[in-house]
Amino acid sequence: MMDESRRGFIGKAFGAVAAVGGIASLIAMKKTWDPLPSVMSAGFTTVDVSGLEANKLEVVVWRGKPVFVLKYTEDMKPTDGRSVKIGDHYFSVMIGLCTHLGCIPAYRADQHDFKCACHGGEFTDAGINKFGPPPRPLDIPPFKLDGVTLVLGEEGPEYKAMMAAKA
């Protein structure tokens, strides 16, 4: 009787230790798949917006994604909660990937809008989806304003206000 229960206990203990080892290994393997620290830290891009030309799309690369920086002309109206005022000018700052399947829309300067060649989605100058399959406006990357410099990847007060207004 004693023997039986002791064997049962040892068996369970052995099973538990084996399981701990197995789980620990799985965690290690999961972490091996994680992005490298160097990849995670290479996530900041700065853009000087002072030299930009109005109505001409500037595309910068941030975390492998194209980010659109568009300076408005005098007759382009800012959109609440999406247009950013830097100095005396309004800008659109957004990730240039169609929210449908991630293609890069092209800017049509004469119509002040974006057209995605993949599936025909269209966005306004502020990135709001106005036609086709895209389910939502273009995403806004986390950014911070530092004078006339835009830091992508850091969350500044303007960005936080935008996100709060959306939620």
Binding site: V39, V61, R63, P66, P133, P135
Partner: protein, 416 residues
């Protein structure tokens, strides 16, 4: 250990140590297959041969391929295609083989559905087969990334992006899978590992399971007839070869398979040498560029039907966004075939055309899958989007209706 007597022949020497005579009987000469079959029963052997072709051609490609974003494209398109002796041949066999293997898998799969070869004891054959389908899909997808062309990149981008739709963990999961915020070198090397090692190992394991699963319930036949295999085997061994309902795997069954294989290979090599464009998309001969999206992005043809189910839902229904609906439908589409044995509530094992209701279901499904496949490639604009929506909905509806249709059928035929 028993005393070994000196062997008189090489065969005996091996037989003493490995039991090769008995092994050959069990695997070949006394492994019994029904006689009442047609050429569709040769698809399994065709698949084994194609898989062998893929492994062998893959080994030779591996000798010169470089899994690095700066070198991958040229290592394939210059070194392998233009410099290595017969490198182009191995690549063509690998690319065309990967495409054609899916054609044969689909024929194999729908043969199984048509003849009801997934029920009454054959559930594990079906499930292990579906597991192979999923593994082959993963193998195809990971391999498609390796040449690092535009379609490699953007297919990888769009498909990994799909995981972003999973609630809560989605965004982080995508970064975790890619090993970066975007499809990058880390993504290429890990998919390389999956493609050349992990998934092939799993495939080989699943093939063994699939073959093993055939042993107990035995292979189905053209009429769906159940009979005593041992009795029929005895009849055959006793010399009544014409009266027996079974034949041995070797040489009788395989002789028919080789004949089918011969003509299939004629078709296969025609594709390899003269008509490979369908398997080697032109756009993939442009090097991957993460900042330049091709005008049309589509997966390889064998993923088109499920891709179309994914994008068929393009508008909000009942507060759920089209994207989420598509993702749910896509998840269902990829899992639902596993449940065939339980969704088909009729105990009847017969060719579909002899089943009063199921035959309509089967041919409707075939038509719907073809429509999904074709519209999965066409740009989803205007009327195309609605055809996609209707055929995606039809796909889901057909599966939802299957238990009821087959239940009604069981009632009609009275449990026969």
């Amino acid at each position: 250990m028993a005393e070994f007597k000196k062997a008189d022949s090489m065969l005996e020497w091996f037989d003493q140590r490995l039991g090769v005579v008995n092994f050959a009987k069990v695997m070949m000469t006394e492994y019994w297959i029904p006689k009442n079959i047609n050429f569709l029963w040769a698809m399994g052997v065709l698949l084994s041969v194609l898989f062998t072709f893929l492994v062998v051609s893959g080994i030779f490609l591996l000798m010169y391929y470089k899994p690095d974003v700066n070198m991958a494209f040229d290592s394939v398109n210059y070194t392998i295609m233009q410099e290595v002796a017969y490198g182009w041949l191995f690549r063509h066999i690998h690319a065309v083989g990967a495409s054609v293997v899916f054609l044969v898998i689909y024929i194999h799969m729908f043969t199984g559905i048509y003849y009801g070869s997934y029920k009454k004891g054959r559930e594990m054959i079906w499930i292990s087969g579906m597991l192979l389908f999923v593994l082959f899909s993963a193998e195809g997808f990971s391999g498609y990334m390796l040449p690092w062309g535009q379609m490699s990149y953007w297919a990888a981008y769009v498909i990994t992006e799909i995981f972003g739709g999973i609630p809560v963990i989605g965004d982080e999961l995508v970064v975790w899978i890619r090993g970066n915020f975007y499809v990058s070198d880390a993504t290429l090397t890990r998919f390389f590992m999956l493609h050349v090692l992990l998934i092939p190992l799993l495939i080989i394991g699943a093939i063994v399971l699939h073959f093993y699963a055939l042993r107990f319930p035995h292979v189905n036949n053209e009429a769906g007839e159940f009979f005593d295999f041992d009795e029929e085997a005895e009849k055959y061994k006793a010399g009544d070869k014409k009266g027996s309902k079974v034949v041995p795997f070797w040489p009788v069954f395989l002789s028919k398979d080789f004949f089918v294989l011969g003509f299939f290979m004629l078709f296969f090599f025609y594709l390899v040498f003269f008509h490979y464009g369908f398997a080697m998309d032109a756009i993939n001969f442009d090097k991957a560029d993460g900042l330049k999206t091709p005008a049309h992005i589509y997966p390889e043809w064998y993923f088109l039907w499920s891709y179309e189910v994914l994008r068929g839902f393009f508008f909000e229904i009942g507060g759920i966004s089209g994207k989420d609906l598509g993702l749910i439908a896509f998840g269902i589409a990829n899992a639902v075939f596993f449940f065939m044995p339980w969704l088909d509530r009729s105990p009847m094992v017969k060719p579909a055309n002899q089943r009063p209701y199921f035959k309509y279901w089967f041919w409707f499904m075939m038509v719907d899958l073809i429509v999904l496949t074709v519209y999965g490639k066409l740009p989803p604009t205007g009327a195309n989007a609605w055809v996609g929506f209707a055929s995606s909905l039809t796909f889901l509806t057909l599966f939802a209706a299957l238990p009821f249709i087959t239940k009604a059928e069981a009632k009609k035929v009275g449990g026969k």
